[in-house]
């Protein structure tokens, strides 16, 4: 999909394709601005102009989301897919009580009476660990962690099969973050919904998701089961991301970032979009864009380094593909 700007269209997301199974936690990671939030908002079609969806398909349980009428969309939203926004403070209406906002979602999708809706809302707050009396509080009267939990409670209101979580813990401090993540995990196990978990914190994803996709400059560059991705990152960008996080336990490593910065999507680099920052770049990479291919069962990567690999071939790794010392933190040639 693209954004119309005064200087030309900006293709924010290109060729992103994945599916989520029931009960699965699917992680989507990448730097700020890589398009992951855009994908999430596009699924529910809440992106605002000048954003336009210019191609592709979105199917939910067999239904085509992109051709839904406004009324169908209204029914679809929240009941089939709900979303936990990044900043709870900003996503809650400051002039309405928490209770009102939860009840809103309930009454517009079901025939429950006001009273029943309020009872349900109280239940939801209890599930996430908030006192039901807080239903009458306004958002600014709650702490950051409580607000986030209230938002999660709202998202659960209609028992949707899929919940999208857009950086739900980024704005919180580490201790609260841990609590919230545990809460989400418990809820998921109990209620059985799928989660599309979006974040730039890869370590969080590796712990929590079943499968992970890494996005860069609007495209998916690698997709694999979580453990597999952690043990064997194939794309140089993924490798760089892994090395960017310090670990409290474990040996001391030299922290390397990834030199350079994300590309300007108005004029993306030719060929492989990562080539300006890749230490293993070859002339071909600047011309031809790599396609996402399955190189080992369940493990997809979009990188020319693996052009020669056949599916089923074992011993695929970045080290092998590069043939030697893995380097990072160096300027590309």
């Amino acid at each position: 999909m693209e954004y119309v700007t005064g200087r030309g269209p900006v293709r924010a997301v290109e060729g992103v394709s994945f599916s989520i199974a029931p009960g699965e936690v699917f992680g989507l990671a990448g730097e700020s601005g890589c398009g992951k939030s855009t994908v999430a908002h596009a699924i529910m079609r809440i992106l605002r102009p000048p954003a336009i969806i210019t191609g592709g398909r979105i199917f939910f349980q067999g239904k085509d989301v992109l051709s839904m009428s406004d009324e169908e969309l209204e029914r679809f939203r929240w009941a089939s897919v709900s979303m936990v926004f990044q900043s709870a403070m900003n996503s809650l209406n400051p002039v309405m009580t928490i209770g009102d906002q939860i009840v809103d979602a309930i009454t517009s999708h079901s025939d429950l009476s006001k009273k029943q809706a309020w009872e349900r809302a109280a239940e939801l707050l209890e599930i996430v660990g908030i006192e039901p009396s807080r239903l009458r509080s306004y958002p600014h009267q709650l702490s950051g962690g409580m607000r986030q939990r209230a938002v999660i409670a709202t998202a659960l209101a209609l028992n949707p099969p899929l919940m999208i979580m857009d950086e739900p813990t980024t704005a919180l401090d580490v201790v609260v973050q841990k609590e919230i993540m545990q809460q989400i995990e418990e809820l998921k196990d109990k209620l059985g919904f799928s989660i599309l978990f979006i974040t730039h914190d890869l370590s969080l994803l590796v712990e929590f998701s079943d499968r992970i996709a890494i996005m860069y400059a609007g495209e998916i560059v690698e997709m694999a089961p979580a453990r597999e991705l952690f043990d064997n990152p194939l794309h140089p960008y993924t490798y760089g991301l892994m090395n960017s996080f310090p670990s409290i336990s474990g040996e001391k490593r030299k922290l390397t970032g990834i030199p350079g910065s994300p590309p300007d999507l108005l004029h993306p680099p030719s060929g492989c979009r990562f080539h300006p920052r890749c230490p293993y770049v070859q002339p071909l990479f600047k011309e031809v864009a790599p396609r996402l291919r399955e190189v080992t069962p369940g493990h997809f990567v979009a990188c020319h380094l693996y052009d020669g690999c056949q599916p089923g071939q074992s011993q695929v790794s970045l080290q092998a593909a590069v043939g030697g010392e893995l380097k990072f933190g160096e300027k590309p040639k």
Binding site: M1, V4, T5, G6, S32, G33, S37, H41, A42, R45, I46, L47, R48, P49, P50, A51, I52, I53, T54, G55, R57, D64, L66, S67, D70, L73, Q86
Partner: protein, 344 residues
């Protein structure tokens, strides 16, 4: 959604002298090249262009008055209250003077007063507003209180009372209007100065030993040019209407020719009751057009400086081109073949 620094995302709403609420977008220091880009964008904007053209016409009218309508505009040229004819394209007023000449010469004084007021209020606003914002503390408290006092007192009654005690004339009007109109711009400049003061480039200037006045005028002020200019236009708009109001009430010098005094005489000579519409319609229309032109320019400046307003406009062009009906959901624009093959 893009992550923005919450400190930068503060849009404030101010009410301009004409009662319009303007959204003042957040500030971040604009680099030199950026500062003149908006000038170019203004000229490209249709609304601003119309505004400039209208004002241009009237300014030319004022400058070339002696050539367009030679002679004394108050001179008796024919029977009073004559309707427009080939000889006198706007007819004659209650005293038998040529209405067209009155209008043209009136432009001089009216526009002169309005621009003078604009300049004076802008200057006062810069000095007081920026001092209050930059120095802070007690000085700020005192100046803010002064601003609030002048702001809260309703304009016209104050103007009326002031004008009765001063000798009638254009100078009085300029003084009185400036004395009541300066706080609007000053307040906006003060709050912008307050937020710009916290920025790094000011800290750098302080550390490198620049004196306070130099910082205010060389560092901070250039970053506020768009607001200062918008304030100037707002003041002129206010002045044009307010001076007409005062003169209409008879508080200006009724023997000078201005658009407001034309209306005063029309009312007093019962032009309404004799059906002589040409004695008041053109002058009022001129005032309205000038005020409208400035408002248009301000409206265009709003659109240009507020990226949100602009972004949505650009998007809607594309949608309209492809005839996509209005909906709050993200629009889907497919190539023709795809929608025929895919879809439901």
């Amino acid at each position: 959604m893009a992550t923005t620094d919450p400190k930068d995302k503060v849009d404030t709403v101010e009410v301009s002298p004409t009662g319009q609420a303007m959204v003042i977008p957040s500030t971040s220091p604009t680099p030199r090249t950026e500062r003149w880009r908006w000038v170019k964008m203004m000229l490209a904007n249709r609304k601003a262009l119309v505004g400039f053209v209208i004002i241009g016409v009237f300014i030319l009218m004022a400058i070339f008055a002696p050539i367009i309508a030679p002679g004394d505009p108050n001179a008796f040229v024919g029977p009073p209250n004559q309707p427009p004819s080939r000889q006198y394209i706007l007819g004659t007023n209650g005293q038998g003077a040529d209405m067209f000449a009155q209008l043209v010469w009136g432009a001089r004084t009216s526009l002169g007063i309005a621009f003078a007021v604009g300049i004076v209020t802008t200057l006062i606003g810069i000095v007081i507003g920026m001092t209050a914002g930059y120095v802070g503390g007690r000085v700020d408290d005192i100046l803010s209180m002064l601003m609030n006092i002048v702001l809260i007192i309703p304009g016209l009654p104050l103007l009326v009372v002031l004008a009765t005690f001063l000798p009638p004339g254009p100078l009085t009007i300029v003084l009185v209007l400036a004395a009541t109109g300066w706080p609007w711009g000053a307040r906006v400049l003060r709050s912008q100065t307050l937020s710009l003061r916290e920025k790094d480039f000011v800290a750098a200037a302080i550390v490198s030993g620049e004196s306070a006045p130099r910082i205010i005028f060389r560092e901070i002020l250039p970053n506020m040019t768009s607001i200062v200019v918008a304030g100037f236009f707002g003041s002129v708009t206010y002045a044009i209407g307010a001076e007409a109001g005062l003169e209409f009430l008879g508080l200006g010098n009724v023997s000078t020719v201005t658009w407001g005094t034309i209306l005063f005489w029309a009312q007093n000579n019962a032009g309404l009751l004799t059906g002589a519409w040409w004695t008041f319609v053109p002058a009022g229309l001129a005032i309205a057009l000038v005020a409208f032109a400035f408002s248009l320019i301000n409206y265009a400046v709003d659109e240009i400086t507020n990226p949100r307003l602009r972004a949505e406009r650009e998007g809607s062009h594309v949608l309209r081109k492809h005839k996509i009906p209005f909906s709050r959901a993200t629009p889907v624009l497919r190539a023709k073949q795809e929608s025929a093959a895919g879809g439901r």
